[in-house]
Each structure stands twice: as C-alpha cells, then as structure tokens.
Amino acid sequence: MAPSTRRQICSNANPNNKRVKKQDQTKEGQEQVDRNAMAVDTLLPHLPDLIVHKIFRLIPTKLAIRSTIVSKQWASVWSLGAPLLDFDDEGDSTDHDGDNLVRRKLLFIDFVESCLKHCEKKKLLELDSFRLRMRYDSELIGATRIDKWFSFVVDRCVKELDISIQRKDDNDPAESTYYCIPHTILNAQFLTSLNLEHVRIPESTGLISLPSLKTMSLTAVLFDCQMNWNKSLWMGCPSIEHLSLVSCSFSSLVWHITVKNSSLKFLQVMYCKCKSFLVEAENLESFIFTSEFSQLEYIGLLSECVRLKYISVYAQHAKIIFEMPRTCRDNVKATIDIPNLRGFRYEGYLLPNDVISLKARNPLAAIIKLNWDDEEEVLEPTFLPPWTHFPTWRYFLQNFDCCNKVELDIRHDAIAEAITFPENFRQTFSPPLPNVKYLKVLIVRLRCPQTVARVSALTDSLRWMAPYALFTLTFWDYGEAESSEEDE
C-alpha cells in the first residue's frame, strides 16, 4: 500500500495556483530548440527504468504527471505501468463558504478527469494502485461519471483499490445519498486488495468475481442486498485471506450474516449491526468480533472452522448465544467477553493448551461437549498417568463458574476417566464451580460396564467440582439410557 506521505497532494487546480509562467515570447531558431531539447534530457538524465518506477511510488500523482510532461523517458516508464494514482480532495468540512466549496469540488473532479485523460493519451497500460478519497454530492456530479473512473482503472488491471466516497451528510437517513459502487469493481480480475469506505454495495445484478482478491476491508459500508447475495459475495472471492468489516450496516432484509469461505484466514467484525453472525470457514485462524448492537442474538463459529487458533469476542449489550467450533484440533486461545451472554456452547477436544477465558454474568447456561477422536485408538499421552492436565482442566471449568447451569456431555468414557479429579488433587485445590446451581453430566458410550469403584470416583469428583449444585449423572450407550443416578 502507498506510504502515508502521499496524502499531502495539492490536488486543487485552483486558478490562483497556476504555475504557468509568462514565458518570453522571443522567437527561437530551430537550432536553439534542438539545443534546448537536449537540455531537457541532461537535467533529468537517463535513469534505469526501475528506479524511475520507484520514484513514482514516492511522489504525489500531480507531480508524477508533471514529470511525464518534461521527460520522455519518465513518460515512457509511466505509460508502461504507473504504480499509483492517488486523488484526495482533502475534505471540506471546515470550509463554510458555500460557493468556494462547490468550486473546489468541481475543480477536483476536473483534475481527476484530466489526469485520467492524460494517462489515456500516454497509453497507460497498467496501473498498480488507485486511491480515491472524496465527498460525494449527487447534485454536483452524477454517479455514472465516477463509475467511468473505475472502469478506466479496472481496465488497466488495477491491483489495489482504496476508495472512500463519503456522503455530503453522514447523518442523512436516506439511502439514496450513498454512492453505489459500480459492478466493474466487483469483477476486477486482478484486484488483490480492496478497501471501501462509506459507499453502498447495491444488490448485484451479475456474478461477483474477484479471483485474485486477498484482502478486503469494508468500513461504514451499507450492504443493500438480499439474503442470497451475501453468500455469493464470499463465493466470488476464492482466494481471500483477510476480511475486515467495520461499522457496516445491512438493509433490514439481511440481518443474518453468514460468512462462508474456505480460504479465509483472518476475520474481523466490529460494530456491525446484524442480528446473527455465522462463520463457516475451514481455514480461519483468527476471529475478532466486537459489537455494541443490542439486537444481536447469536454468534456461531460452526463446525467447519477447524483451524481456529485465536478468538476474541466482545459484545456489550446484547443477549447472545455463542457457539464455539466443534472440531478444533489446534490449541485455541479464546477471550469471550459478553456480559449478557445467555448461552454458551463449547464443543471440542480438550487439549491441555486450550485457553478459554469467559467473562459473563448470570443467568447463563453452558453446554460443554467433549469429543473423542474415534480414529485414535491410543490415548493421548497427557491422558495417561501421571496426569498433568488437571490444573488446566480445572482452570477451564472455572470459567463457567459464572453460569447458572452447566451441562457436561462426555462423548467417550475414556474422557470420563480423564476428567475424574483424583483424590489428592481434590484435597489440594478448591472446587472450580462453587456458584453453579445445576450440574448435569452425560456420559456416552461405555466400553464396558463401569466398575462400581470407577463410577464412585467419578461421582465424587463431579460432586467436588460443583459442591452446591443439584447434580444429575446419566450414562448412555448408543442412545439408550442404561442407568441414571440422581443426587442432591
């Protein structure tokens, strides 16, 4: 991406700033012209093309274009592939003079179009990055005019697009004041990075195809589309790895968001207004979610998300049910801060290094399912004596002390053995769930009839875990209830 020094473009072709000097109008002979033509080249002597290309990356568009006028070599490097076109109207919120404001805006638009015309004239073939920052006023400039700029840029195989087209009045509730991005942007074959701010993504009339897109960043964007569309957006980005949605809003029909994409690695969703949010992403490694929307009801990281390593969720106001991936095999570090969490579902393989930190208030019901991998005939080393995982297991349970109800589903009796806290441990440490009122434990798939001693040890351990809870223990074998013990 372009370095930030580029922001200081003096983009306004204000008549007062025009640098056209009053040249001496003396007639020059042909010789003189020739000599002077040579002078041009000695002042900007020949530099290796790659170097010139490097320099173009360092200077604002206006100066780059000027250089192409004074040096033929620089012009030829430019036309082969300009690295960057960067237009910034530098905001106007502090300028209260209405007329001057309008004039400046029109000048900016003219400047952009003359630059693009100049590029076309110099037969510019390729463009690396295009950056546009401006305020959009539909009365001054029609959207189709801006659409043409994007067509121009996309035709030249642009790789990075950074667009911020803010509305004249951010607080205007009317959706029509947004600039709708043209479909060409959603079909830019060479685009690797897309950053959109303040625009509106309209309902798509055609296929979305962004095969090279790796990074997409949407800020304050309005999604104006039907339910199915939001799925086709993710399907149109088969290589995307990094997705960030900040302060995005959705038209009322699309309040349930599903992000389904198999290449996504990093997903960040902040302050977006949606009622539910689901993620199905096999390669997702990192998930960050922050919300202050009071109508959020559900966040689910579905079972497909097997590669998750890092989860951070913070949801201030809503009453939410949160579901965590079921078949995560890597060590997961999760921080979940949802004060009004209604329900928490965790399903996983309890690995020693899973760090889950849960912050919530009552009332809350947590369901913890511990799975066993059927393919593994041999017990994991940590599940064999001497047992070293108990402190971690106890710490994990402690997270749920804020719950009213805890339900433990143990999917294999080998796990049941592993979670039975031994007596010496119980005597040394304090119970992890002193505040839980109901503890329900379900153990599935006995290998063989449990010996009385084992069951007794398990019961002792469970009762120790939640000493003040109403306690239920059920054994199931392939869906049949074999025996059930209830105790106070």
């Binding site: 020094t5 200081q8 072709a13 204000n14 008549p15 700033n17 025009k18 640098r19 056209v20 000097k21 040249q23 001496d24 109008q25 003396t26 020059e28 003189q32 012209v33 002077n36 002078a39 041009v40 002042l43 900007l44 002597p45 530099l47 290796p48 790659l50 170097i51 490097k54 320099i55 360092l58 200077i59 604002p60 206006k62 100066l63 274009i65 000027r66 250089s67 006028i69 004074v70 040096s71 000048l107 003219d110 400047f111 003359s114 630059c115 100049h118």
Partner: protein, 139 residues
C-alpha cells in the same frame, strides 16, 4: 582473513574495498572474481559509493541516529551527482543505497527543488504542445 576487492572506475582508477563493505553490493556478491570494472561510472562517483559502503559495513546498526544523520548528509548532493550515484548504486545493486537516493529524489520533487526544464530555463520556449498541456492540467 577477509578478502580485498578491487573496483575499477570507467576512467581507470582502482578502489580497494574490504570484503564486508564490498558484499553490500549484490553484483559483487555474485561475481566470481574480486576485480570488478564498473562501466560508465567515473572515479569521483565510485569513490563516494565506496565511502558509503565502508561506512555501512563498519556500523552494525543501521537504525542508529548517527548513521542516519551521516546518510542524510551523504544524499544532500547536487542533482547531477545524485543521479549519477543512483546509476552506480543500481549497477552494483546496493539496495539500501538505491532506496536512500531515490527517496531523496522523491523528496526533492515534492519540495519542488528538483530542477526540471522550466525552473532553470525560465525563458526556455517550451514546445507549444507541452505548454498547453501544462496549462490544461492547471500546473
């Protein structure tokens, strides 16, 4: 025992450079011999490049403030010399030097201190077309 490289300028002057300094150049690194002729680069320029390499070889930490100041001084040369240095550094493929020099060119363009046609030849009668273009773009 570090090797000593010999760099020969286009006007036949030879500079001896210690291995550590010489290997800052990718061209020298991938060269099979220790005697390298640098075409189109005169002694004055080559000497400066060698000076830069020596300075950067002896100091490990390139983020050091002193080195930065020295570098800033180093690139504050006449435009002519600057461009010749770029050509030399590019030939020798000394990435950091090239970066510093091109950054300097960029800075000069932005500060409008880079001399291009109009500024040193105020009475130069630029071809009509160019002048019109400049005018139309509001430059």
């Amino acid at each position: 025992m570090s090797r000593v490289f010999k760099l020969k300028s286009s006007d036949n002057e030879t500079f001896e450079v210690e291995e550590a300094a010489a290997l800052l150049s990718e061209t020298i690194k991938s060269s099979s011999s220790t005697e390298i002729t640098v075409p189109n680069v005169k002694a004055e320029i080559l000497g400066k490049v060698v000076e830069w390499c020596n300075k950067h070889a002896e100091s490990e930490d390139t983020k050091d403030q002193l080195i930065k100041e020295w570098d800033a001084e180093f690139v504050s040369v006449d435009q002519h010399v600057l461009f010749k240095l770029i050509t030399a550094a590019d030939y020798l493929q000394i990435k950091e030097l090239v970066d510093q020099l091109t950054q300097r060119v960029g800075d000069m363009i932005k500060a409008k201190t880079l001399k291009t046609v109009e500024m040193t030849y105020p009475t130069f009668n630029v071809e009509r077309e160019v002048q019109e273009e400049l005018k139309s773009l509001g430059f």
